[in-house]
Amino acid sequence: MTTVEMPKLPESQKTYAGIPEAVFVEDVDTFMAQPENDNNSDRVLRKLDEQHGKYKFMELNIATKRRKLKQQIPDLAKSLEMINILRNQADDMETQFLLSEQVFVKTTISPTKTVCLWLGANVMLEYPLDEAEELLKQNMDSAIVNLKCLEHDQDFLRDQLTTTEVNMARVYNWDLKKRQAAKAASTTPASS
C-alpha cells in the first residue's frame, strides 16, 4: 500500500476531532487549594468522574468509526481487484453473483469496458474502467487517511482517560489521608 500523508493539524489543536485535554496534576495539595476546587474533594471527584464518562463515550464513538473504516478498506481493495480482472478478461465468463444474503445467481459476463459503481444513497453510476479505478483508489486513500486520523485521536483519548483515572485515584487518596490526619489530630489531644 502506498504511504499516505496525514493532514496537518492546526497549531493549537492536538486532535482531529477536537478532544479536550485532561489537566495533569503536578501536586495534589496545590491542585486542591485552587479556588475552584476549594479543597472539596467530593466536588472534584464528581467533576473528574464526569470528564471520565465523557472520554469513555468518545472512545466508544471512535472505536465504532474505526471498525467501520477497517471493514471498508478490504471491500475497496476487492473492488479494485475485480476491475483488474474485468480488464484482463478476454471472453465470456460464467460466474455466480450475490443476489441477496445466502443467495447467488448464475450469470455470464461478456467483456466490458465499463463498470457500475455504487455511490451510496441508492445511487449507482456507470464508469469506464479506468475512471472507476481512479475513483476507487481515491476512496481507498481517503479511507486510509481517515483511519490514521482516528487512530491518532484514539491514542490521544486513551492518554487523557488514563490521566483522568490517575488524577481521580490521587484526589481520593489525598482526601483519605486528610481524613486520617484530621482524625489523628482530633484523638491525640484527648489522649494526652
Binding site: F24, K78, M82, E94, F104, R158, T163, N173, W174, K177
Partner: protein, 139 residues
C-alpha cells in the same frame, strides 16, 4: 458490543497516598496503557488472520484430489469466478503467501510492543513498587 471497547481493568493504576507522581511518570503510564491497548487490538487481528489462513489451507487440501478440468468457483469479493484446478491452486497459494506475510508483520509488531511494555513495567515497578498494579486481567 461492549466487550470490544471495555478495557477497564487492563493494567489498573492505583497510586498510593504518599507517592508523588511527576509529569514524566504520568507520561510513562500513558505510554504503557496505549501500548497495552494496541497489543490487545493486534492480538485480535492476529486471531482473525490465523483463522483465514487455516481456511485457505483446508481449502487447498480439499481440492487436491479433484480432476484437472474440474471448474472450481473461487470467491473474489462478492462473486465466484470458476477456474480449473491448477489455476485455483495457484490462486490459493498466492492468497496463503499474502496471509502468511501479514501474520508475520503483525507478530513482529506484537513483539516490539511487548518489549516496550516489559521495559516500562520494570521502570514503573522500580519507581512505585507495590503502589502500582500493572498486570493484565487474563480473560
Amino acid at each position: 458490543m461492549t466487550s470490544k471497547t471495555a478495557s477497564s481493568s487492563k493494567g489498573t493504576f492505583q497510586p498510593d497516598s504518599d507517592v508523588h507522581i511527576t509529569f514524566e511518570d504520568q507520561q510513562k503510564i500513558n505510554i504503557f496503557a496505549k501500548h497495552n491497548a494496541k497489543l490487545e487490538d493486534l492480538k485480535e487481528e492476529l486471531k482473525v488472520k490465523q483463522n483465514d489462513l487455516k481456511n485457505l489451507e483446508e481449502a487447498s487440501d480439499e481440492i487436491e484430489l479433484f480432476d484437472e478440468d474440474e471448474q472450481i468457483p473461487f470467491l473474489l469479493g462478492e462473486v465466484f469466478i470458476s477456474h480449473n484446478l491448477p489455476k485455483t491452486q495457484e490462486l490459493l497459494t498466492e492468497a496463503k503467501e499474502k496471509k502468511k506475510k501479514e501474520i508475520k508483520e503483525i507478530e513482529s509488531k506484537c513483539k516490539e510492543l511487548g518489549d516496550i511494555i516489559g521495559d516500562l513495567k520494570s521502570q514503573l515497578y522500580g519507581r512505585f513498587g507495590s503502589h502500582i498494579y500493572l498486570e493484565n486481567d487474563e480473560d
